[in-house]
């Protein structure tokens, strides 16, 4: 006769096992959720702090500054939310930190920024981010433009002049200059004349004061320091920020027009009312012709600098 050997467990043991497993599962689930939400919180804080950290970099007049932002872990800065609605348009910067393995968490965006113009690729990745700031004048200061990069750039055969001097002085550590074409592996090649094997090509006039930049199959027209914006940012971010800068120009020109009325009371007369109206019309129009805007700005600058009572300093 066969002996039937069974595994006997008391009810309390089964009950304890099931309850223990449920408690353990719930504890692990909530711990994972908590870690996830903490990471999201840190990313949101970082996105907000990034805006605060950029404030001291703002310039007073015609200056430029550069700095390096260091992150503890590999981080992605998302600059893909740029809108041109309202009076100024806005930009939102998202932060995503690396998760387990090669996975990246979804970016957490900070507050909408109406008074910052950040030029970068849509996603910048790394531990070290290089920032430099240039004042954008038309002819009065419109705003500072922030250039944010994490990649290495190699400038090939950059002609002697203000652009080379400026890039060399601003170099936050990721620029390399060469005349021979020997660039470090992985760096983006920037050429200042038509040449093959270039990631970015700059075509300029009047010592690169205006022209256009060819990048990712797109042509980005620039004037003045927007050259750096065009080199270092994606066409989408660049075009959005240029539109936002034009919106700010319209508002500022309107402020100056109102200031003329106040200054007249102190017998300080200005001839800039009509040229400012022209600038407002140009900047608020759909025309993408930045060179025309530059010409009008130069006219305003000439009238202002010749006046006894200057409306603005530039």
């Amino acid at each position: 006769m066969k002996t039937k050997k069974g595994f006997e467990m008391s009810f309390s043991t089964i009950f304890a096992l099931i309850a223990g497993a449920a408690i353990l599962f719930l504890a692990l689930y909530f711990a994972a959720r908590f870690i996830g939400s903490q990471q999201t919180r840190i990313d949101a804080e970082t996105a907000t702090k990034l805006a605060v950290l950029m404030d001291p970099l703002e310039t007073s007049l015609g200056e430029s500054k550069s700095n390096i932002l260091n992150f503890v872990t590999e981080t992605r800065i998302h600059n893909d939310l740029c809108l041109i609605d309202g009076n100024f348009g806005n930009q939102e910067i998202g932060i995503a930190s690396s998760g387990f393995g090669d996975k990246w968490k979804r970016p957490t965006y900070g507050k909408k920024q109406y008074n910052k113009y950040i030029f970068s690729d849509e996603v910048e990745e790394g531990k070290e981010f290089y920032v430099f700031v240039k004042s954008f004048n038309l002819p009065f200061k419109v705003s500072d433009i922030f250039i944010l990069t994490s990649k290495k750039y190699c400038f090939i055969k950059i002609p002697e002049g203000s652009v080379k001097d400026e890039l060399e002085s601003l170099n936050p550590g990721n620029f390399n200059f060469t005349d021979s074409g020997g660039c470090a592996k992985g760096s983006k090649k920037v050429c200042f004349s038509a040449s093959s094997d270039c990631d970015i090509t700059v075509y300029g006039e009047y010592g690169f004061k205006q022209g256009y930049v060819s990048k990712d199959g797109a042509k980005m027209e620039y004037i003045g320091p927007l050259l750096y914006g065009a080199i270092f940012s994606s066409p989408e971010v660049y075009n959005c920020n240029v539109k936002r800068l034009k919106m700010r120009t319209v508002r500022l020109a309107s402020v100056y027009k109102d200031e003329i009325k106040i200054l007249e009371r102190a017998s300080c007369n200005s001839q800039l009312d009509a040229p400012l109206t022209g600038l407002i019309a140009l900047a608020s129009g759909d025309s993408e012709n930045l060179a025309l805007l530059q010409d009008t700005a130069e006219e305003i600058e000439n009238v202002n600098s010749a006046a006894e009572c200057r409306l603005f300093e530039s």
Binding site: R41, P56, N87, V255
Partner: protein, 187 residues
Amino acid sequence: MKLGQLKIQVQENHRFLMPRFSRQGQLKIQEMAFMLLAVVVFFAIAGMFFLVIMYNDLIGSANLLAKEKAISTAVNIANTPEFSCGETLCIDADKLLVMQNRQDYEDFWPVASIVVTKVSRDKEIIECTEKNYPYCNYFKVYDSGITNIEMVETFVSLCRKDKANEYIYNKCEIGKVLVGFEKKQPG
């Protein structure tokens, strides 16, 4: 048996006997159920305490960030083209008058309020308008309408164009920038 009382007969079918629990086993299950309930209640209360602490900490962080933003805005406001007189740490009072309660700049400022005052011995606050300018000392540039605000302040040069002996010059005084930020309260 009394008269008129029905006799209820319960027929027992012995083929389908009801399961019989021991009283000791029932007591054990009850003990465990209560224990499990106690554990759940304990974790729920502990979790709620934890969430309250975390929420307060989150509000603390948000307030600190808002304060940092307000400080950096106050420090850099003199560099903003809407206020700058063209020199470092210098605000153009003529521009302030123009910028007061400007509708198109409503969403522009990343803070709750911006006020600029002249630093003088006069204790009376005279809000600047187009009528009384420049004989005033208080420019209310922006007010979001938020009531629960905390202020941070910094000193700047406050300059305006003036004319003396047919010569136009920048008349500068000491000014104070007060930037308000919303202070969030827990609960």
